[in-house]
């Protein structure tokens, strides 16, 4: 294919792909996706047929219009308005450049705008597909740059033979003409070039990936504690943070990384307790490990803004009956947060001089200081009551009202945050009120009205079939609040959306509620004899304050997420077919080592193992040196008794020094000498020629019958070093004529013009005529060959 056409095809494809990637990141085809169509249009009608061209003044006017549109988007009241305005501005500029007259500058604009679009797209999504597209885009980008380089060079040297002068045309001026050396003229893109660029691209991207993995994640934002904030930021949905942005949980749910281990014991007897047994006794269907508690919802983000409650210090007591002890082992997260299942009473950590703090308002557990290494802690439950009597009625979740009242009721002064309701969710409020109409309430009529309303909303979201579970983050209406977009447009989402919708609907019907993040579910590891909680168990649910007006008041855990979530979590953890496992592994890798990469993870997976291997190597080396020194000391004692070296000691040392020096020099100099001799064009030395002749004669019976004529071999050797070799089809006479032509000047000056012919004649006499040269002839030929050698050397010098 023509180089210019190939380059144009590459650069327009690159531009189209960058637009498509931005559209993918933005999760809406307009306006970024339009770039694909416009790129195709511009390729044909601007670049190939030259039918559409935007003049400069029109480009400027369109540029101003684009800036105006970007400013308008920038001022919109949307959470991501600033980012989108920037992204769209890039897209508008790309469209303008697509239809401009193309010079080199415009092509570089394509590269710059494309790269920026890809970068902005990366901010907008966390999808693993984007990573794949990114790699493909960059391979194409590197290919395009290499072809562009060829194209530029071809243009610069294109008119080979075009004369250039130091000044305007004048016959007194010197003219020069550049040229191009190509094996096949005009054939720029060869398969070697394609393979070479491909390998360079792969190697470059691998290096880039290595750089990505190695660069320490010491983020510049939140300078008060970059390390901790890093972890909080990345684990925002797993109970470590006081803020959660809707939609960021999806990648965590695809990670199989272990977060903590759990073992349950009877506190009195220390006998292990099974998790299902514990759940049955506490009236729960699934284990819920509480982490953070969030109360304020604003702009698609949950945060904890209420004043902190009084901190209670938990200390262990002696063994108690009917108490289950939860023993956890959690890896450092750069956080103080700890997890536990309700009902909680007290606990302790294994960090010396530390205790577990408990927030008197939310009962969020934390250590006094951030833990930097694996922490073991124990949580004791409340005293477990006897099995429920027949008159105690369980709700649809199997929970008996008021059975556990471990969490403190909301302080009346601070109840307001739990009822805080953002503006703009009016439709949600009216729907919630409609759902809890008296005729639609579910649940045992013995339950209070408040409890039944809460259970009705939870059940409607979870069990009606109207809403489904997905990890797909597609936004249908970006102008709408994500909760309403979920409830009225998409009707599908993951636990964050269900929990947020439930919490807001509860508040809409005046039931105080709060969002709880943590983990739901655990896998039993028979290998470690413990329960393991992994990232994919991350979950969000709601605690609603059910004020029954009697002893049954409680923070009731409500989970509106459909049962499909459990299926998804199980599928991700199970061993499916090859492709599913591969997909899961890739997703896990993407989530763990790309999206959620943190300093601690780098330390754990990269820095520490590297440091370990290096220190191990260093230790081995120092051990070796120590052995050497010990031996040396003994040797010294043998050879130098009482500080007087013996003669043999001195001789040995001198001998070693000489041997090593000579050996190193011979090895180094020998190579250099041979190389220099080969490159300098100096002929082989007489002894080497003699040696070669002897070797050839000796090897002739083995390697084949080849009669060696020494002077002719010497002659050929000299010419070979000048780059002249007889071709396979040439007779010695033909070769002699070629040599006479190639070295005419040199042979003439040295009065050796007839030497090739004479040597060949003599060779024919000896080789084919069976003749023997007289000693005078041999001497004369040798002398002339030496003259030739001298002439060649002088020319070189």
């Amino acid at each position: 294919m023509n180089l210019e056409k190939l380059f144009q095809l590459s650069i327009y494809s690159l531009t189209a792909i960058s637009g498509a990637m931005l559209a993918f990141g933005e999760e809406t085809p307009y306006p970024c996706g339009l770039t694909v169509f416009l790129a195709v249009l511009a390729f044909f009608f601007n670049e190939r047929f030259r039918l559409i061209r935007i003049p400069l003044w029109a480009s400027n006017a369109l540029g101003l219009a684009a800036a105006g549109m970007a400013v308008r988007e920038f001022l919109e009241d949307r959470p991501d308005a600033h980012l989108l305005a920037g992204a769209h501005f890039l897209v508008y500029l790309t469209w303008i450049v697509l239809f401009q007259d193309k010079q080199t500058r415009q092509y570089w604009w394509f590269f710059a705008l494309g790269l920026l679009q890809v970068a902005v797209g990366a901010v907008m999504t966390l999808s693993g597909w984007y990573g794949l597209f990114l790699v493909m885009y960059l391979i194409l980008a590197l290919w395009t740059m290499a072809v562009f380089h060829l194209h530029q060079r071809a243009l610069a040297f294109g008119d080979s033979g075009r004369a250039r002068a130091a000044a305007p045309a004048d016959a007194r001026r010197t003219l020069v003409e550049d040229s191009v050396q190509q094996d096949i003229p005009g054939h720029w893109v060869t398969w070697r070039f394609v393979l070479g660029v491909f390998f360079i691209s792969i190697a470059g991207l691998s290096l880039g990936l290595a750089m990505f993995l190695v660069v320490p994640r010491l983020w510049l934002a939140d300078s008060e504690n970059a390390l901790a904030s890093d972890i909080r930021g990345n684990r925002s949905t797993t109970g470590f943070s006081t803020t959660v942005t809707l939609g960021h949980l999806g990648q965590i749910l695809e990670s199989n990384d272990k977060v903590f281990e759990l073992r349950l014991f009877d506190d009195d007897s220390d006998a292990p307790v099974r998790l299902d047994e514990f759940l049955t006794r506490t009236g729960q269907l699934e284990p819920l490990f509480r982490g953070s508690v969030l109360d304020t919802y604003e702009g698609a983000r949950w945060s904890a803004r209420r004043p902190e409650g009084r901190t209670l210090r938990m200390r262990m007591r002696g063994p108690e009956r009917d108490v289950v002890r939860q023993e956890y082992a959690i890896d450092p997260m750069g956080s103080r947060i700890l997890f536990a299942m309700r009902p909680i009473r007290y606990g302790a950590v294994t960090i010396p001089n530390d205790v577990i703090d408990i927030d008197s308002e939310t009962y969020v557990l934390s250590t006094h200081a951030e833990y930097q290494e694996r922490v073991h802690y124990r949580i004791n439950t409340q005293k477990l009551p006897p099995p429920p009597g027949p008159d105690e009625v369980a709700d649809r979740n199997g929970r008996i009202p008021g059975r556990f009242r471990d969490l403190r009721p909301p302080d009346r002064r601070w109840e307001l945050p739990y009822l805080q309701y953002p503006k703009g969710l009016e439709r949600l409020r009216s729907v919630a009120i409609d759902w809890v109409a008296p005729s639609r309430l579910i649940g045992d009529e013995r339950f209070s009205n408040v409890r039944r309303r809460a259970l009705t909303i939870e059940s409607r979201l979870r069990d009606s079939g109207e809403f489904s579970y997905t990890l797909d983050m597609a936004v249908e209406d970006p102008d709408r609040d994500p909760i309403e977009d979920f409830l009225f447009n998409r009707k599908k989402g993951h636990c964050e959306y269900y929990a947020s919708a439930l919490a807001m609907m509860l508040r809409a019907v005046d039931i105080p509620s709060r969002l709880v993040t943590g983990f739901k579910g655990a896998d039993y590891s028979s290998e470690n004899s413990c329960y393991e909680v992994r990232q994919r168990h991350a979950h969000a649910w709601v605690e609603a304050w059910i004020d029954d007006g009697d002893d049954h008041d409680e923070w009731l855990p409500l989970d509106a997420t459909p049962g499909d979530r459990e299926t998804s979590v199980r599928q991700f953890g199970s061993n499916g077919d090859f492709w599913r496992n591969a997909k899961n592994s890739l997703s896990s890798f993407w989530s763990t080592y790309v999206v959620s990469m943190s300093y601690n993870r780098q330390k754990e997976s990269l820095y520490d193992p590297l440091a370990g291997s290096m220190s191990g190597g260093f230790e081995s080396f120092t051990q070796f040196l120590q052995d050497v020194l010990t031996e040396a000391k003994e040797f010294q004692d043998d050879l130098i008794p009482r500080g007087r070296p013996t003669a043999i000691a001195l001789m040995l040392m001198a001998g070693f020094v000489v041997i090593v020096l000579v050996a190193v020099q011979i090895t180094r100099r020998g190579g250099n000498w041979l190389r220099a001799r080969r490159l300098s064009g100096r002929g082989p030395s007489p002894w080497s020629l003699r040696w070669r002749g002897w070797l050839s004669r000796w090897a002739a019976p083995i390697l084949g019958r080849r009669v060696v004529v020494e002077f002719y071999e010497q002659f050929l050797g000299l010419l070979r070093l000048r780059g002249l070799r007889p071709a396979g089809h040439q007779t010695p006479r033909e070769f002699a004529r070629q040599v006479e032509g190639a070295l005419a000047g040199l042979l003439g000056r040295a009065s050796l013009a007839t030497l090739p012919h004479d040597v060949t004649d003599s060779f024919y006499r000896v080789r084919f005529g069976g003749d023997a040269l007289s000693s005078a002839e041999i001497e004369q030929l040798g002398e002339r060959i030496r003259l030739l050698e001298d002439a060649l050397r002088q020319r070189r010098e």
Binding site: L116, V123, H149, Q152, F157, T174, Q181, G204
Partner: protein, 468 residues
């Protein structure tokens, strides 16, 4: 014409590479020693380790001393000659700065925005950038370029300079390597270039650029700059081969007209006789001409006669005294005008044409040359006549001036060897009143004026600067 080379710099190997080689060799020795000991002894004999330690320590000591030597030799003011390492230069294009700017924006955005994905984009852009730079260096590494000059070069005539690129790398091709030469002649500086699209591993390719020098004189070729920006084209790395070669470009050479030959013949009494004849007494074939009465029919050239449809005969010529004493009077005023300079060039060019035609013509005339310009120069004199090569070479570098007057120059010229010797004075003096002429005597005087020379010499229009 004559080629002289002078090596003003050498591309040597990196001292660090040499040091690494030595260290590697030392370690290899130790490893071999250890291996041998392990091979033959289950338990190493006593004092094995001290021996190995010596093996290890000596090269280290050598390395230290060697490095110190290199540091000392690199100090400013060092006068001890030694081979310097090849130094690569980087030319960063404007697009590269933009690339780095975008890279920085993305990197900062990643760290401020706490975005791992943005950091991935940063890494994946930075990786090829770093590797691209290394690939460019690798491509240039092991590349050697040599230049071959032509045997002869004259002003106004095109000739080729051959560049041979040898790629000594065992595995990697040399892609898109540009060899940019420097051609200077004191008044101009030009940079002809040759692009080698691909030179395979351990291969070599030859290419050439064309030069048409506008002026005679010494031309310097070099240094050669070998550059490469492959694969990304953002940063160009280059190194210089400091070898400078000198090429002497001869004066412009034209063709003498028939009138020149006729005038010169008149000057020489009875020196020339031309007739159409054939036989052993004929010396040199002169030309083909129409048949005239009295010509022998045996001289008819039948093939040409048939082609032209008229009788044509071969004419042979005897040369009796071919020697020419040429005096070139290159005078110019202290403040020469362009016309003065032009006159000097015309005179030199005319003299070169006379030398060429008369020495290479059918008669093989000997030309002895006396140049009176900035200094007096004599070629020939009492010795054997100079070769054409010598004549042209000296004319190429002759400079105008006022070393002697015309009369003095004629006096300094060698005396005629015989009565048939022709004396020619080519002068740039046009002012007879100045008295600079002196008494030229029996000399054919040619003033280097365009009008005068137009009658005697013709220059090829394509190659000619100024046609007289």
């Amino acid at each position: 014409m004559s080629v002289r080379g002078s090596d003003t710099g050498a591309a040597g190997g990196s001292r660090w590479r040499r040091a690494a080689w030595t260290a590697g060799l030392a370690v290899a020795w130790v490893a071999i020693g250890l291996g041998v000991i392990r091979l033959f002894y289950d338990a190493p004999p006593p004092h094995t380790y001290p021996l190995l330690a010596s093996l290890l320590l000596v090269p280290v000591l050598v390395l230290v001393l060697w490095s110190a030597r290199d540091v000392l030799l690199n100090l400013p003011g060092n006068v001890i000659p030694y081979r310097r390492s090849r130094r690569y230069r980087a030319h960063i294009h404007r697009e590269a700065y933009i690339y780095v700017l975008i890279l920085s924006v993305i990197g900062l955005g990643a760290f401020f925005g706490r975005s791992n994905l943005l950091l991935l984009v940063f890494g994946l852009l930075a990786g090829p950038w770093v590797l691209g730079g290394q690939v460019t260096l690798l491509v240039l590494n092991g590349v050697r370029v040599t230049r071959s000059l032509p045997e002869f070069a004259a002003a106004g005539q095109r000739f080729s300079i051959r560049l041979r690129l040898r790629n000594r790398k065992p595995l990697l091709s040399a892609w898109m390597v540009t060899a940019v030469d420097t051609v200077t002649n004191g008044r101009e500086e030009l940079h002809p270039a040759v692009l080698f699209a691909r030179v395979p591993p351990r291969g070599e390719r030859e290419a050439q650029y064309v030069v048409r020098p506008g002026q005679r004189g010494r031309h310097r070729l070099g240094p050669l700059r070998i550059a490469c920006a492959f694969p990304l084209g953002l940063v160009e790395r280059s190194f210089e081969i400091g070898e400078v070669q000198e090429l002497i470009v001869c004066p412009r050479i034209g063709r003498l007209t028939a009138q020149w030959h006729a005038d010169l013949s008149r000057d020489t009494q009875g020196s020339e006789r031309a007739l159409a004849q054939i036989g052993p007494s004929a010396e040199h074939f002169h030309r083909l001409r129409e048949y005239r009465g009295g010509d022998t029919p045996r001289a008819i050239h039948w093939r040409t006669t048939a082609r032209r449809n008229e009788l044509m005969v071969r004419e042979y010529q005897h040369h009796q005294d071919p020697e020419i004493l040429l005096v070139l009077d290159l005078w110019q005023p202290e403040r020469p005008t362009p016309a003065d300079l032009e006159r000097v060039e015309l005179a030199v060019s005319f003299a070169a044409t006379i030398c060429t035609e008369h020495t290479q013509g059918a008669g093989g005339a000997a030309v002895r040359l006396t140049v009176s310009g900035r200094e007096l120069l004599q070629l020939g004199g009492d010795r054997a006549p100079p070769s054409l090569r010598d004549l042209l070479e000296h004319l190429a570098v002759a400079e105008a001036g006022a070393a002697l007057g015309t009369a003095d120059a004629l006096r300094e010229a060698p005396l005629p060897g015989s009565g048939r010797t022709r004396r020619v004075l080519v002068t740039t003096r046009i002012d007879r009143q100045s008295g600079a002429w002196g008494d030229p005597g029996a000399v054919r005087v040619v003033v280097a004026e365009p009008e005068t020379l137009r009658a005697y010499v013709a220059w090829d229009q394509a190659d000619c600067a100024v046609t007289p």
